[in-house]
Symmetry: C2
Subunit: 276 residues, 2 copies
């Protein structure tokens, strides 16, 4: 929907290619106009977030992905942009403070930190809309949804209701400022163990490590079956990395308590004792 609403017919948009989700966004956008990849970390298997690129002033917008679930990287700073900055925050929204003023459009699926799958949040500066020269199908037109007060179509009531409850829970506990500290502690605990433990290593640049998705591998991949046995015995689930990259990935979304991270760290220590 982003290029459909923001990319002028014959216009050009800029994209930062930081992994699978960025690449999918780029593929779709290319069907609607000219797309310029301003920087990409594909050269090193998306193990870092590109920096020091220029954003041309003539772009219709510049699109970034704040957190990359599969490769375990996260943008710690957001670029100052001379054109509308568009951010896919699906996998780290409400996990940390961001300055909304820096963005012209933020979109995020509910299913990570907000609520159950089935709804998507859009925050958009209205003055960037309606400029494409494109005939707009109503369901794809952000303006139709704004005019309909998010009820242009019958809204997915249950996912929205549970998102409200989740955000109330967050607010009651101290809000985004509170959860940001919790998330930092959780990630720090696990990254410290990865760096300390002689059997494991991280897969990403340290400066770009995601607080949401911690990716790591074993120095000796032949030890994986034994490790898998041990963490499954400790009732940990979903630790295998995405099928496209292998290795391991611990997802530390808002809902995961620090106690769960401690269980994993203990398992890694125990494994080192037995197999190092």
């Amino acid at each position: 929907m982003v290029p459909y609403n923001l990319l002028k017919t014959n216009g050009t948009a800029g994209y930062l290619n930081t992994g699978v989700w960025a690449a999918k966004a780029i593929k779709e956008a290319k069907m609607l106009g000219n797309i310029k990849i301003l920087a990409s970390s594909e050269d090193k298997k998306f193990s870092y977030v590109p920096k020091n690129y220029e954003i041309p002033k003539e772009l219709d917008y510049f699109h970034i992905t704040s957190n990359n679930t599969i490769y375990g990287t996260q943008m710690k700073q957001f670029p100052g942009s001379p054109v509308p900055l568009v951010c896919d925050m699906s996998s780290d929204i409400f996990s940390r403070k961001v300055n909304g003023k820096n963005f012209a459009l933020i979109y995020a699926g509910a299913q990570k930190n907000m609520g159950p799958a089935g709804t998507t949040m859009i925050a958009v500066k209205e003055d960037i809309l309606g400029k494409t020269g494109r005939t707009m199908l109503s369901m794809l037109d952000y303006k139709a949804h704004i005019k309909g007060e998010s009820m242009y179509n019958t809204p997915p009531v249950f996912p929205i209701y549970v998102s409200m409850l989740t955000l109330r829970w967050l607010k009651k506990n101290g809000g985004v400022e509170w959860i940001e500290k919790v998330n930092e502690k959780k990630a720090q605990l696990l990254y410290e163990e990865i760096d300390r433990n002689s059997l494991f290593k991280g897969t990403t640049e340290k400066t770009d490590r995601s607080n949401m998705n911690v990716t790591f591998v074993m120095h000796k991949p032949e030890q994986e079956p034994e490790f898998d046995k041990l963490w499954k015995e400790a009732d940990i689930s979903g630790l295998r990395g995405h099928r496209d990259v292998g290795g391991y990935r611990a997802s530390l979304y808002n809902a995961l308590p620090i106690e769960s991270v401690k269980v994993l760290v203990d398992v890694m220590r125990e494994f080192e004792k037995r197999f190092a």
Copy 2:
């Protein structure tokens, strides 16, 4: 999505205009190609379903709406069509038996007879897809959703799960054959009272009366406030007609038991006793 997937660039599609939902579908389809209205009941405020129209063989498809929630009409027979027949069954799917073979594509939002709002069912004959010559955005491409086994995007898990439970409930009780009889009884009970009662009258052609949405008005509209008081006292809710048409509308979807219809019929009788 229907015209996007089925209407050839430079092709023509046929539509039957039976009310608000059909008109919305027509409006969107016109943005993608040539649309021919084969018949319309707008001349009599959509109080009937047009019959005896011709379906030209050169159309890409012919689109109908099986039930019209706002005007209270329903197609009792479906036209034999020389071109792919597409049906919006959102408001009466699983309320009665239909012969799937007659349709090339059926779509229906879950929120009437299937489950909570937030998911949509599509049944499509695959051989009608992929013929438009249009570059297809993946999210709008039925083929992408078929290839992804309905998980191209993160699916709305809760609405789908509850739809499954609802369909299991339906199956356990005797399936569509059973609920069709129940729905007929419910509708018959209410229409009989409307026809019998000296204070009320139906708004639609008798042959096209919907079993899902029963619309009626008062002979003397000035009596409405008194009637409203009485049905609200009986714990009936949502009986006011759609804001576009006024009057009254009783929605008798699968989930509504016949006992609720009896309560309304009793209220109408009582009202006649007091005010006729």
